[in-house]
């Protein structure tokens, strides 16, 4: 099936299998390796991307569904003005251990800030769907607080 969608601001057209997920197409077809495969069942948030302005777990999104949509991935987000500030805050506070969950955290934090979330407790709720198996949550929340204070 042919699927056309806007990926990080650029229109792309890809051939997908009907049983492929957005995660499969981003990583294998389009070689966007910033999107991580974690649990594959929507529990961990490592594969989070922004679909039409909202964060979603790309492991649960059928590729054929994104025809006509807009997708933003962590590598692109990290290059935006706001994304850079999120990354800097995470680096400054040591909010990255093994790093596998970091792109997902970056994406959800970025989306939450764009949505207007400024309160650390509200941010914590927004981040419930992002798991860090190194359990580095204390430093992640430190980074979040530093970032929110700087906005």
């Amino acid at each position: 099936m042919r699927v056309r969608f806007k990926l990080n601001g650029t229109l792309v057209e890809v051939e997908v299998e009907p049983h492929e997920t957005l995660l499969n197409v981003l990583r294998d077809g389009l070689k966007i390796k910033s999107v991580k495969y974690g649990c594959g069942v929507g529990e961990c948030g490592a594969c989070t991307v922004i679909l039409d302005g909202r964060p979603v777990t790309s492991c649960l999104v059928m590729a054929a569904k994104v025809d006509g949509s807009e997708v933003l991935t962590p590598d692109y987000i990290a290059r935006t003005e706001l994304g850079k500030r999120v990354v800097d805050a995470m680096l400054d506070e040591g909010a990255i251990q093994c790093g596998y969950c970091s792109p997902g955290f970056l994406t959800t934090i970025y989306a939450a800030i764009l949505k207007g979330i400024r309160d650390p407790e509200a941010m914590k709720r927004a981040l419930l769907g992002n798991l860090c198996r190194c359990t580095g949550y204390v430093n992640i929340m430190k980074a979040v607080k530093r970032l929110l204070e700087s906005l």
Binding site: M1, E17, P18, H19, E20, T21, L23, N24, Y37, C39, G40, V41, G42, G45, T48, L51, R54, P55, V56, T57, C59, L60, V61, M62, A64, K65, D67, T108, A112, R125, A126, L128, G129, N130
Partner: protein, 301 residues
């Protein structure tokens, strides 16, 4: 039993046809024409089932993009919600927050933000999990479902929709079009409380309460529970028993009465014994919270 870690969940290990119809009519025609076609909306349950091969459909009919199924309409006597409305849209919708705060409260506690952005109210109901978070509030509200088919549509009370765990009365060729929630213009307090490992996990026990008082007398009460029976349930005998009682009396009686109307089981998330005890406590807590809200911020439902 296979451990979750032994299964590769990166790819869906089967294939099928995939359709994105442009109208409800086209979706119904596809369902009618293809044997063993499944409707997909948010996919948060179905894609997992596909990965584990719990379902092996010949085709998927994707209704998530149908604007006909994405709406919230507030009428004089009911609020109508299109089945493809996402849980996050419900949680943020002005009419839902104003007229159905019990449903809004459940929507906010539903899964993670990423999941709420995909999952739909229709999918949550049609998947028919005993733990479905939107079910207890909608049961408490006496919601009705409009099921569309090529030969017309029928209306089924939600209380008659669930036929067992993962089973509904939906027939082949039918699609849930909308959820209609009656609004009676009666002042009520509300509370949805969910007990789960983490707030976004599936419920071990959930309780929804709608409460109207006349002075300190219970004028109308609805108690609905999730994860404590083969389907989400209303505790109607308990409701009848405590209507007309003083609130203090009602709170004292309700837990034991409700316990007689539920049949919890042991499973991966909890045990029957724990669920029974916790359900009693949560019924009490939910009634108290609904009571406080009745006087503080009661809404017309």
């Amino acid at each position: 039993m296979l451990s979750i870690n032994l299964i590769n969940t990166y790819r869906i290990p089967q294939t099928f046809e995939y359709y994105r119809p442009r109208s409800l009519r086209e979706a119904l025609e596809l369902l009618n024409a293809i044997e063993n076609a499944k409707v997909i909306a948010g996919g948060t349950d179905l894609v997992v089932d596909l990965k584990y091969r719990r379902v092996t459909p010949r085709a998927l009919v994707d209704v998530s993009g149908l604007s006909e199924l994405k709406f919230v309409k507030a009428g004089d006597s009911y609020v109508e919600i299109g089945s493809a409305t996402t849980i996050q849209e419900l949680a943020e919708n002005g009419a839902v927050r104003r007229y159905l705060p019990l449903l809004a409260e459940a929507a906010e506690l539903f899964g993670s933000w990423q999941i709420r952005n995909l999952a739909t109210i229709g999918g949550n109901l049609c998947n028919a999990s005993p733990a479905a978070d939107t079910a207890p509030p909608l049961l408490a509200h006496d919601a009705e479902l409009e099921l569309a088919s090529l030969s017309g549509s029928r209306v089924v009370p939600l209380a008659k929709f669930f036929a067992g765990p993962k089973k509904t009365v939906l027939e082949r060729g039918e699609i849930l079009r909308s959820v209609r929630v009656p609004v009676h213009r009666r002042r009520a307090g509300w509370s949805f409380i969910k007990v789960a490992r983490t707030s976004f996990d599936l419920a071990k026990v959930s309780v929804a309460v709608l409460l109207s008082l006349d002075g300190n007398t219970v004028a109308d009460v609805r108690i609905a529970l999730g994860s404590v029976a083969p389907t989400p349930v209303r505790a109607r005998t308990a409701e009848k028993h405590i209507t007309g009682a003083s609130f203090e009396e009602a709170v004292a009686l309700a837990p034991e009465l409700v316990a007689r109307e539920i049949a919890p089981i042991d499973d991966v998330r909890s045990t029957a014994r724990y669920r029974l005890e916790v359900a009693k406590t949560v019924v009490r807590d939910a009634m108290r919270r609904a009571y406080e809200r009745f006087f503080r911020v009661g809404v017309e439902v």
